[in-house]
Symmetry: C2
Subunit: 422 residues, 2 copies
């Protein structure tokens, strides 16, 4: 027997019903913010990803040669493809460009709970503006996207990579030391950071300050230690401005300043933010984004870029964990011809109902009334229409309410209206 | 500069707007027929496709080894994955199962007009019934799917592989001869078929009969030459029954019987059908399907299966070729703060409108009124709201109709209703 490839999934119709609902809802939110949808291919030239993330990314991705010897890779994420598309074909379009996307991504990873080798991302890129209100709107979009699908308990964290780098520089941390502590900071393993800083010969009092700043949510503390740096002053002004817009315009007050967000230091710069769904436990981050720098690297004319990506699968898991009430799939009408001669009429009525958008099934196994009604019940059916010769001679059919079991004779000419009104 | 991989495409927001509309419309038609959506991974184990189509398929697909040495392939089509999913996880579900899907497929092919290395398919599988009414409904679904998206000029062709095989057997064609003439029949190169039959030593009068039967649309002619074969009699009965349902229940009268449909002889059997969009010229086939046999091959308990696939990209090209009038993307409201102090209020109003599903943009570049109105115009905007301090002091804003240029002072408390009513 053939099996689904390791680390990948099939989705049942119940799962797809939920996923379709979430995608539709997210599309509506993106659109309401003036974002437009684009799409890129499932694979890209491998160099696109190594240029962005370095050669070591090859260990984590599906790369392969095609029959013409081209080095290709299944996309591990969508920012690089979208910026490649922008540089190739959209540089002349009026700014700002507001682009959103949905797409499956792939990583070669040990499969584990909530982590798959094929996974879906939703996301967006904002190209051509670096105003604080633009960044505030971007964060508000991410926040609204998740709230609107039904996630009520989410946590927004906002950081700034420029400020972190200025602090590291101020205390003279070496590149080697920084590379060593970043993954520890990312995992909030601050005791381990302390050990490394001591080993690296950083003075104890400096060490304490660094650890305090990494864990503070008070911008004024950061300000105090970076006030002699001009770019720090500008970043702090912008951060305050972003926060004011979030609070006053978008009524988002439940954010936290989190200086230990150090994701994607290779190409992110300045503002970074993450959204967590605590219900997910260890793998709680469902959104990450910020300001980044890729256009120049990909050969385009420099322009400010920012964006975020949402883990679509984790969003679904979070909704399910909270027992969010999704609407169930249903069949509006199940038509049962009581003998072979009634089949033609059954389909004729079905076709009329379907043209009106009514979800209509006709028994396709000539099962008889009892078994057909049972099958209809199992499919969450609202009404059954039973078509028999005696009733049809009187231009009528039997309409059955599948909840109450009530049956009525209904004129053929009235059946569409009866169904649509119910 | 990085480029899109050879033979693949990026889709602009205008293209995605059309594709999204077509997908949504098709989903509604599938659902109205009682079909439910499923999804399988983008790649499968390579053997799934070689088991179905033979080893030679490897030349035409993207196959690769993952880092664990597994032989994988980007799916070239979706029937094999769906039946693999059915055998693995859905055999116990109540019959008939009506499954539909959308998915990108891949083939390693010389890129040419209308043929890409990544392409999208829509399709469905009907599992667990072999009644003629079930097959008629399947064909009607394919037909309605294409009509409902807006393709008015389509041609439905219906064939039968069992009857063709019986004819070949009756005239004692060898397997070698059949393998040789099938691709010629598929391309309607009947003169070349005649030459091959002569070379193979088939009597001239038999040759003429074979050629006539391959080109006839008269079932009675087929009947005449196959009346001594029991399975032929049954197939002809079923075909007549299918046609009666198509004509009488589904009001589809513009079909043609076409005995030269010989596609996928490896696993199709009995009924086959194709739908063409003549506007597409040489690459006019946009749908193909029929009755096939894969469940047993994939290790499942035998059950009747049928289905069809629609070329999503060709459907789009056919619609565009007919200058089908798609709705254009639009922005409902463009908000212009006339100075920095007005930005907060602008987003506050934007947020309220967006929560109502109104597509709302706010100037993100502090451009001033003139340039912002020009930008709004270029984006097909219906209304602009201009927010200035004097008006705001009177709890009002300026509402501008972007078509007429008419401007009115509107109370803040009325703005949502004004926009929603217009």
């Amino acid at each position: 027997m053939f099996q689904v490839p390791r680390g990948t999934r099939d989705f049942t119709s119940d799962e797809m019903y939920i996923r379709d609902y979430v995608e539709k809802n997210m599309k509506e939110t993106f659109a309401s913010f003036g974002y437009v949808q684009i799409q890129t291919p499932t694979f890209e030239n491998l160099e696109l990803f190594t240029a962005k993330s370095g050669g070591s990314i090859i260990d984590e991705i599906y790369d392969f040669s095609d029959k013409g010897g081209r080095q290709l890779a299944l996309r591990p994420e969508l920012t690089a493809p979208v910026i490649r598309f922008y540089v190739e074909k959209m540089q002349m379009e009026p700014k700002p460009l507001k682009l959103f996307y949905f797409g499956n991504c792939f990583r070669y990873d040990r499969p584990q709970k909530g982590r798959y080798r094929e996974f879906k991302q939703a996301g967006c890129e904002l190209i051509g503006t670096d105003k604080p209100e633009a960044y505030a709107e971007l964060i508000a979009l991410a926040y609204n996207l998740l709230r609107n699908v039904g996630l009520k308990n989410i946590v927004l964290n906002i950081g700034n990579l420029t400020l972190i780098n200025i602090i590291f520089k101020k205390f003279c941390l070496t590149k080697k030391c920084i590379d060593y502590i970043l993954p520890l900071i990312d995992k909030s393993m601050f005791e381990d950071v302390r050990v490394v800083l001591n080993e690296e010969g950083i003075k104890k009092e400096d060490s304490e300050v660094i650890l305090e700043l990494l864990q503070t949510s008070d911008i004024n503390k950061i300000k105090k230690y970076t006030k002699d740096d001009e770019s720090a002053i500008k970043e702090i002004q912008n951060l305050n401005s972003i926060i004011n817009f979030l609070e006053n315009s978008f009524k988002i007050t439940s954010y936290k300043i989190k200086m230990s967000i150090v994701r994607g230091l290779e190409y992110y710069k300045g503002l970074v933010f993450e959204i967590d769904a605590p219900v997910l436990g260890a793998e709680k981050q469902i959104c990450g984004g910020g300001v980044y720098d890729l256009v120049g690297l990909f050969g385009g004319r420099d322009t400010p870029t920012s964006g975020f990506a949402v883990g679509f699968d984790r969003t679904i898991i979070a909704l399910e964990a909270k027992e969010f009430e999704f609407k169930k799939q249903k069949v509006d009408v199940y038509i049962i011809p009581i003998n072979e001669e009634m089949i033609e009429k059954s389909f004729e009525i079905a076709q009329k109902l379907r043209m009106q958008g009514v979800i209509t099934e006709v028994d396709l196994l000539r099962r008889g009334i009892g078994k057909s009604l049972k099958h209809a019940s199992s499919k969450n059916t609202k009404k059954a229409i039973i078509i028999g010769p005696d009733e049809l001679n009187k231009d009528s059919v039997t309409l059955r309410d599948m909840q109450t079991g009530e049956q009525n004779l209904v004129k053929l000419s009235d059946i569409i209206i009866k169904i649509k009104d119910s």
